[in-house]
């Protein structure tokens, strides 16, 4: 059985279920208790779990992540809210030099079951300091897991898995996804395994490998191509960007021989590079065409709506890339 609920509600269900299940789970963040989170993503939780377990905090991102790590070392399962993903910059030492490395440096004496919720992405003219997608920094940081839901179902299954994971896990949630509705299974033990991709759509002419909000844009592109041009495109939703499901990527290349990699993060230096490079190295013989990589332009995110909307890839750009690939080879 499944219900149609919003992405926000899916994350609320995930938190509620995990907090009921495990008394060690608790939440900290700015404006999460009295306001219920700036996107409503913590609404009602203090009523059920109290303000000791759903803690409003000062504006002290370094301390929140640092204390999250400390609490995790001492056996808790903290979930820290980052307000906006851009403020991760204020707690990078705590994430990169502490959370990610302690288990390894200390010879596996400890685990760091910390979850970081970080609302990210471009929307509504939030401007350069409130719009970034920074996942590749953390893919590049051994010791961290990084998951990125594309819809309500992912949101619930990945957030629950992140909270249960014994590794520090970053959960990036695109701000524009919060109000979107989708089907979510009823099962309280519905989990999406970290490190497994999902093929959202079959198709043999090309594959779009993507994640997060760009999955919806890719599906839109694929539908248009199917309808208008009879081009059949496979869409792979990675769900986790670390660990990456390299096998699913290789399968998509083997099945389609033409690949577009797309994300909203800046193209240069992004996760798309990891994916395309993996393909160029390990799936070279399966390739019939160049691997096209799409991502935001190499500029900060501008404020003006007309500028903002011009600098990251949406369905038309993704469709055009697929069309180019298919035309090139047919």
């Amino acid at each position: 059985m499944a219900r149609t609920i919003s992405f926000t509600e899916a994350t609320l269900e995930a938190m509620r279920e995990e907090m009921r299940r495990d008394p060690m789970v608790f939440l900290m963040g700015e404006d999460i208790a009295k306001q219920g989170g700036i996107f409503g993503q913590f609404k009602g939780l203090p009523d059920e779990f109290g303000i000791e377990r759903v803690r409003d905090t000062p504006i002290s991102e370094a301390a929140l992540v640092g204390a999250g790590v400390g609490a995790a070392l001492a056996g808790m399962r903290p979930v820290v809210d980052m307000h906006f993903a851009d403020f991760i910059t204020c707690s990078m030492d705590e994430l990169v030099n502490q959370a990610a490395k302690l288990r390894y440096m200390f010879g596996e004496q400890c685990t760091v079951p910390l979850t970081l919720r970080a609302p990210d992405g471009i929307t509504k003219s939030a401007g350069a300091q409130h719009s970034q997608s920074l996942e590749n920094w953390f893919v590049h940081t051994p010791g961290l897991e990084v998951v990125i839901p594309a819809n309500a179902r992912d949101a619930k299954g990945l957030l629950k898995s992140a909270i249960r994971s014994n590794n520090p896990t970053l959960y990036f949630e695109h701000k524009a996804l919060f109000p979107r509705k989708g089907e979510v299974p009823d099962d309280e033990d519905f989990l999406i395994p970290i490190g497994k991709a999902e093929t959202m759509r079959e198709g043999g002419d090309a594959a779009i490998i993507t994640y997060g909000i760009t999955v919806g844009r890719a599906l839109e592109a694929a539908e248009t191509l199917e309808r208008d041009e009879r081009i059949a495109v496979r869409v792979v939703n990675l769900r986790s960007v670390w660990p990456l499901d390299y096998a699913a990527i290789a399968d998509a290349v083997a099945a389609t021989h033409r690949v577009v990699v797309a994300h909203e993060a800046v193209r240069v230096g992004g996760v798309g590079g990891e994916i395309a490079a993996f393909i160029a190295e390990h799936c070279f013989d399966d390739l019939d065409a160049p691997v096209i990589r799409l991502g935001a332009a190499h500029v900060p995110v501008p404020f003006a709506p007309v500028l903002q909307e011009a600098m990251y890839p949406k369905a038309p750009a993704i469709a055009a890339a697929c069309r180019d690939l298919v035309r090139k080879v047919r």
Binding site: F39, Q129, A297, P302
Partner: protein, 364 residues
């Protein structure tokens, strides 16, 4: 730490023209922000906007003590600071409207207004983002042996972040010509200061750096002006930084659209009498006639109407503007980065179709 929370004293004759200037500035800020509020709610201003209504005495008082070539760094709540430092309303309103003639070409918006021609180093979307900028600008003034001063405006919430600590210490040990002006409005978005710090006066933190501090009535523009003026003179004389805590109150929501579930209407009402404009008008008493007072409002309203018309008449930025300006020199397509940017513009431009609506801004 010096407390100067005195009741409003009668004005000396010599203070009258200063008080009028402060009143005029506060009215300009108020009119500007009430206009921003209206046009934001009408959907004409995209993004986020945070109003300083009720806090105008701080911006007006401090900036009146500054020269054009002094520096200020502001916060997410920066319209007042910027106007008081001397910017043109037109360029600011056009920026908020995301237009090509905006002070930042439409690329910054309310959280990133800036005017380098008057030493205004920018609003900041990162809480506590201004401390480093001010420490650095003050260091520059010192190294260049100018007598410029750099002023950091910040909220009570910002004082819980690490950069507050590190930069105040830096300013102290290097004796930098800096002013740290805290607008303690008792809230950081939904949290009251009593929840986020265990101290009554934030100014006590300045003791931990060896920085002298003063606590002033932040609704009293003259008191703020005097405190700032003294601190500015100290700084110009090479005697180092000062910390000024202005006790004030945020009358509007944290951002435009804030449901304000964290406080009662009654609490806000109780602060109505603290309005710095009302307070200063009262103090000017018969030296400012009702007609003169209304003229101040009238002038400010005309100024805003003009700015609004200017903003509305200004064009949307061209799409190409998105791909320019991250680097100096990148508009030259011969540079590797330039060539690259041009390629990206080409990649997306054809797919750019609809201009999205401004949106009413999500919670922030």
């Amino acid at each position: 730490m010096t407390h100067t929370l005195t009741p409003d004293a009668p004005l000396a004759d010599s203070e009258i023209s200063l008080a009028r200037a402060l009143l005029q500035m506060m009215i300009r800020v108020r009119v500007l922000e009430e206009g921003i509020e209206r046009h934001f709610l009408a959907g004409e201003i995209p993004g986020f906007a945070h109003l300083s209504i009720g806090q105008e005495a701080v911006a007006a008082g401090v900036c009146a003590a500054l020269r054009r070539d002094d520096y200020i760094a502001s916060t997410h709540r920066g319209h007042g600071h910027t106007l008081a430092k001397g910017t043109a309303m037109r360029a600011m309103v056009a920026e908020l409207f995301a237009r090509a003639d905006g002070m930042c070409r439409g690329k910054g918006g309310s959280m990133h207004i800036a005017d380098f021609s008057i030493g205004m180093l920018g609003a900041n979307g990162v809480v506590a983002g201004g401390f480093g900028l001010v420490a650095g600008a003050a260091l520059a003034a010192r190294l260049r042996k100018t007598d410029q001063v750099a002023v950091c405006f910040f909220g009570d919430g910002a004082t819980n972040r690490g950069p507050f600590h590190e930069n105040l210490n830096l300013a102290a040990i290097w004796n930098l010509p800096a002013l740290f002006v805290l607008e303690n409005n008792h809230y950081a978005s939904t949290t009251e200061t009593s929840e986020t710090m265990k101290i009554e006066d934030v100014a006590i933190r300045a003791d931990g750096y060896g920085i002298p501090s003063q606590i002033v009535d932040g609704f009293d523009a003259l008191a703020v002006y005097y405190a700032a003026g003294e601190a500015v003179e100290r700084a110009r004389r090479g005697e180092g930084p000062t910390f000024i805590e202005c006790k004030t109150y945020r009358v509007r929501g944290h951002y435009i659209g804030d449901p304000e579930r964290y406080r009662t209407k009654g609490e806000v009402e109780a602060h109505k009498s603290d309005d710095p404009i009302v307070r200063l008008q009262a103090r000017l008493g018969p030296t400012l006639s009702q007609q003169e007072f209304e003229e101040l409002w009238g002038t400010a309203k005309s100024e805003f109407a003009d700015a609004l018309a200017f903003a509305r008449a200004s064009a949307q930025p061209e799409t190409g503007e998105a791909f320019r300006g991250a680097y100096e020199g990148d508009r030259d397509p011969e540079t590797p980065h330039g060539a690259f940017a041009v390629r990206e513009e080409a990649a997306f431009a054809p797919f750019f179709t609809e201009v999205p609506s401004a949106g009413t801004g999500s919670a922030h």
